[in-house]
Amino acid sequence: MSLALLSSILIDGVAYAMILFMITVGLSMTMGLMRVVNLAHGAFAMLGGFLAATIPQRLGVPIWLGFVLAIVLVGLVALLFERILLRRFYRRDDLDQMLMTIGLMFVATAAVNLLFGSTVTSVALPELFNGTVDLGFRSIPRHRLIVMACGLVVVCILWLAVDKSSFGIRVRAAVDNAPIARAIGIDTTKIYAATFVMGAALAALGGIAGAELLPMEPTYASKYLVILLAVVAVGGNGNLFGSFFAALLLGIVETSMKYMVPQLASAAFFLTMIIVLLVRPQGLFGRHA
């Protein structure tokens, strides 16, 4: 293997991995903290992407502002969803939660199909994101570099906001045993809503950031679901850093197969996942139950 090939694999792999990570980090958070298997996560990402694609056009605002508005809107939708529907499901078993969110995914798919049509919608990026950066032996699209940076920033922020504050503790307490959590003075309602909205907003951010690679279309939500779940599971259910490294591992494996035996790239992705989960059922960084 030549050095150029190796570094190409690394560069493309890491770039792909960061996009995977950006899209999964919100899911990783809701699953890790709330332990809700939110199969509609992709739907929030999709909604974010579609809104980001349309808002700047329709409202004539700058693209970056459109992105912010899109993320805020997704947060609002998530809030409504959490308050009206999801909250009824915290005490139900995983399966019901999964099914509920599948239901939401169906509805979202139908809605997006209706509002935006069934074809690919491209998310226009701010000028800053366009163009490529020359690395000498090859070039790399600038937006991938930005997404990488974004990913790192998000890890740090979340690490401070969740792992390092008592917020994470209270969310996990609320999820472990809501009645008892309330009985020791935790306002579970607020905690749930805040966490879920945060997860959804991150999903939207991920959807927008990754739209170049995972293009926006109505089946987006279900199409990439398996990949999202794979990253979260391999990372260790809901562990931030776990997701980060899982995305790196899976991204690099798939990318290197693309350079070598592209036909088997998907197979390699799933094989890696099986091997990791068999060796470490709790995922790379997961805590033992």
Partner: protein, 337 residues
């Protein structure tokens, strides 16, 4: 108020008459015949309902009873379909042989994959089942010469059932073949669920560690359940392949697995009859909704799923139970005060 005075031998066998014991099977058979009489022109749909019901039953056993979390049941279903297709192509056109070999195929895949997966639980298990199904799909796509790749495996012929009844495009034979298989599978699975085997499976779902402390071999038990589930899913796949004369990659797809989960949850996971009910309801709604307004049928099914989960946590079968309970005690309101 809590001093429930119960008879001394609470566990005495209930003396029910045989037809009461076979109630589920009889109802199923009658409904099947009635459907045939009422909708003779929709036999294609009805046949699919029967085969999908069998598929749903396999999942109901695995997930509803034993609590094996899976989103990869399609792996077993698809395997059955391909085996049935190969049987017809290379071995014999006899449908029964193909059906049984299909079941065997599903069972073998379940046994092999279960052997590696079933020590895991929860999300890990879900992901493993998904991954195994995806891997099989990639494999089948890669082995085009054997499976026809994404075009599907077709061009096989199915001989007459028992050498007498031809499968023709009116699909009378196909329908009764599928219905018969459904009733038989339902009967066998119901007995399985009510047996010690089934009781232990339910206990494992609730607390595997406790069963282990009672000397149970949880892993083996789950493997047995999963294998039986694989056989049943394989049968369903084989039936589908035989009646539609195509086996294809989509039968191994994640969407297929997820779809059947939706069906059993809609019907109710805790009871086998829920699986059949859910399948029939889902497919009927799909059929009607997509005829009325194909563009938006996902809206229907998505919102219906949510509503059912909220209003009827036990699934549609819960509605049936409540109705039965209500009619059985006239003059009494549902809630004792």
């Amino acid at each position: 108020m809590n001093a429930v005075s119960a008879p001394m031998t609470v566990t005495a066998p209930s003396r029910v008459r045989p037809w009461m014991q076979l109630r589920g099977e009889l109802v199923l058979m009658l409904v099947g015949l009635l459907a045939f009489v009422l909708f003779p022109q929709d036999l294609g749909l009805l046949t699919n309902m029967a085969t999908m019901s069998i598929f749903a039953l396999s999942l109901s056993l695995v997930l509803g009873q034993a609590g094996i979390a899976t989103l990869g049941q399609a792996a077993l279903y698809g395997s059955g379909a391909y085996v049935a297709g190969w049987t017809a192509l290379y071995l014999t056109a006899d449908p029964i042989v193909g059906l049984l070999l299909g079941g065997l195929g599903g069972g073998v895949i379940a046994l092999l994959s279960g052997a590696v997966m079933l020590r895991s639980t929860k999300l890990t298990l879900v992901m493993l089942t998904i991954a195994v199904a995806q891997l099989l799909l990639e494999l089948a796509n890669w082995a085009r010469w054997l499976t026809g790749g994404d075009d599907g495996l077709a061009g096989f012929n199915i001989g007459p059932l028992l050498g007498i009844w031809e499968f023709n495009f009116l699909s009378y034979t196909g329908y009764f073949y599928a219905l018969g298989a459904l009733v038989l599978v339902y009967f066998l699975l119901r007995n399985l669920v009510e047996s010690p085997f089934g009781l232990t499976a339910r206990a494992i779902r609730q607390d595997p560690g406790r069963v282990q402390a009672l000397g149970g071999r949880v892993y083996l038990h789950l493997l047995a359940v999963y294998t039986v589930g694989g056989i049943v899913a394989g049968l369903a796949g084989a039936l589908t392949a035989q009646t539609s004369k195509v086996a294809n990659l989509f039968m191994l797809d994640f969407t297929t697995s997820a779809g059947v989960v939706v069906m059993i949850v809609l019907g109710g996971t805790r009871r086998l009859s829920g699986a059949v009910l859910g399948t029939v309801a889902y497919m009927t709604i799909h059929h009607i909704a997509s005829t009325l307004n194909p563009y938006h049928w996902l809206f229907f099914i998505g919102s219906m799923l949510i509503v059912v989960l909220i209003v009827l946590p036990e699934g549609l079968i819960g509605l049936v139970d409540r109705t039965v309970a209500y009619t059985k005690r006239p003059g009494r309101s549902g809630v004792a005060r």
